[in-house]
Symmetry: C2
Subunit: 229 residues, 2 copies
């Protein structure tokens, strides 16, 4: 986002206008939402809106940037660049869930973009680049032996995004689960599946395979203990 | 579907008209697709279309029935009613993937319905009833000890549908994976996760927990052997 605080009119700054615009785009569709409709919703004149943004297209651009900057930011975090590929993948999936929850209306809009305008096509290209970065981590994690080889990495990546992107369809802020719990759930299903984990055997086999010592194992154990006592 | 073979005009029967209509609804949206647009696409007069269906609404009804009859049919299969809850859940998830793949355009349309008309609201109610039936199986499978208790069953159900419903976004018929392989993949991720399965220990511990002997274990092993040799 290039600018968030250009002011000059009381009541709304650019950010406030953007929030109302994104809600309207998600409710009615971008094409069906005119600057006139936005002005009505905001209780502003059209010229007051144009004091803050040059066009409806700029609002779309700012909104999609908000989603994409968040997702791309996850890829530049230290946890996305260090450690095993499966650690990096877990970090990125957790970060993606967090961005979806924290920027829900913006990511909702991003996921509905179909490439009808130049702004939309540029956003789709950035989204695809993010998806490819995750797909590479899945391939690397499989190659290092952390992820199973009997599910095609391309299919695995799409199923992961299917789970994560569905969050915009059903998650409501302020519900029972916050972003961190939801991210735990996604990682649990993605890495370990829903099948009941076996109790640790009384005599663990010698040389347990490396794939058992892993990402957020401690969280799972403490989480299980809390829920299953 | 009440009728699929009402004929009277050469070239298209009701089923053929329905297929073209569903493709148009998915491409342009239901509201934006008039009977006139359909007539153009079909190379028919509007009155020729009305020989086969009474209205655009009836086409929508027939299309949504095609998707919902398929999904509800899975629930009435023997495998959905017998065995452990986790066996029944696996059967229903596999069946849902098969219906999505085999009736892709119809389920795509169903998943986009927002409840704007009476036909859409009735379809949404049937879809929610299907979702609730799956949610109950998830709860029952957890209660019988087959599924982990540290992921809320409601969240687990939504993540499962997230994976499965995403198939309409990216699956293309005739691709590398057929419905059965894709169903295998979904069940593998859903039940066992992507983490590399441990090699069976040379000396298995006495009394392996029941949760290790499970749904389609044989498939996994043979599939792993095929891919990982």
């Amino acid at each position: 986002m290039t600018e968030t605080t250009r002011r000059g009119r009381p009541g709304y700054d650019q950010r406030g206008i953007l929030e109302v615009a994104v809600a309207a785009f998600n409710e009615y569709g971008y094409d069906a939402t005119s600057i006139g409709v936005l002005a009505q919703r905001l209780g502003l004149s059209k010229s007051a809106i144009y004091h803050h943004v040059t066009s409806k297209d700029e609002l779309l651009q700012l909104a999609l940037d908000e989603a994409l900057d968040g997702l791309e930011g996850v890829l530049t975090e230290e946890g996305a660049a260090t450690g095993s590929a499966s650690d990096r993948l877990a970090h990125v999936l957790r970060g993606a869930v967090r961005v979806l929850v924290e920027r829900l209306p913006y990511v909702t809009l991003l996921l509905r973009v179909r490439g009808n305008t130049e702004v939309e096509r540029a956003a789709l290209a950035r989204r695809r680049a993010f998806d490819r970065a995750v797909a590479r981590l899945v391939v690397n994690a499989r190659d290092e032996g952390s992820l199973r080889a009997d599910v095609d990495p391309g299919i695995a990546t799409r199923l992961l995004f299917g789970m994560i992107n569905s969050i915009v369809e059903w998650y409501r802020p302020g519900g029972a689960e916050g972003a961190e719990q939801l991210a735990d759930d996604v990682l649990t299903v993605a890495f370990d599946g829903l099948r009941m984990a076996a109790d640790p055997p009384a005599d663990p086999p010698a040389d347990p395979p490396a794939s058992f010592q892993d990402i957020h194992a401690a969280e799972h154990i403490s989480s299980s203990a809390r829920h299953m006592s």
